[in-house]
Amino acid sequence: MNRKRDRLEIIHDILYAIKEKHGNIKPTHILYKSNLSHQMLTEYLNELISKNFIVEKVDKDGKRKYELTERGYAYINDYSVIRNFVDSYGLG
């Protein structure tokens, strides 16, 4: 499908990739899963951190990993409802 994803869906894809790996995911893996450019992913990750959807952790090897916060889990749980609501009113 060549449909362009909206912000709501991109954020869901990033958070879902993090959830699947139980908080043990590197930026390159998120990049691959979310199908974004490096620059776009960096912008989204920074935004998600600043809005408390995810937290960044640095392990002893200096590698960055990401974990979902409670708000991040809530977003994934409510995503379908919000998605259908948004689609009903043509806001996507």
């Binding site: 912000r7 409510d78 379908s80 259908n84 609501f85 009113y89 043509g90 806001l91």
Partner: protein, 225 residues
Amino acid sequence: MAFSCFSPNWFSGLDIIFELIFAIILLVIAVFAFRAYKLSDQKKIKYIGYGFLFIGISYIIQSIFNFLIIAKLDDNICKMVLLQQVALLELLGLYSHLIFWTIGLMFLVYMTFRSENKMLLVLLNLIALISIFLSQNHLIMFYALSSAVLIYLIGHFMNNYLVCHKRNALLIAAAFVFLLVSQIHFLFSMDHIKFYVMGHVFELLAYLIILFNFYRIHKNESKKR
């Protein structure tokens, strides 16, 4: 929408119940929209929340004023002073309803635009409210303007349905068609009081469809879980 002078006697009081039902439905959707906005940070969801909130408040105001009018008329129908108070209450109720309904509708229009410029929202509201209050007959202008805006919104929702082919989108388009029909009935209710009742019935249908769509979204999700 209730304006006591256009209402048949048997419908007085019932219209207040109708308006409270409309308000409750709209406030439920508005609260959900604000919650969804808080979580998703999507501004368009916030605008739909404000739209439904303002329209919901307009019904609450209208029902309160209609209740006060009925209460006053029941108490002292023959006293001239009280009749003047009734007229004042009716005007206050009418104008607050017009203002809140118009602002709510303009939020819904604004949500359909790609622009994030808030001045556009201010401009839309100014044009609408100035047109209504500078016209010779405020009510006719209000209903005519609401109908025109609703036609635009139906176009948006139908277009959305044609793109996504989802039943939820069709339900919302249908609900707004009923809202448009209700506004047209209210336009004629100034001459024929039966249109006032019909307008309420169509409005009720519209809001029940919006509520059903909301219920459907949640039901489908809980089935998946």
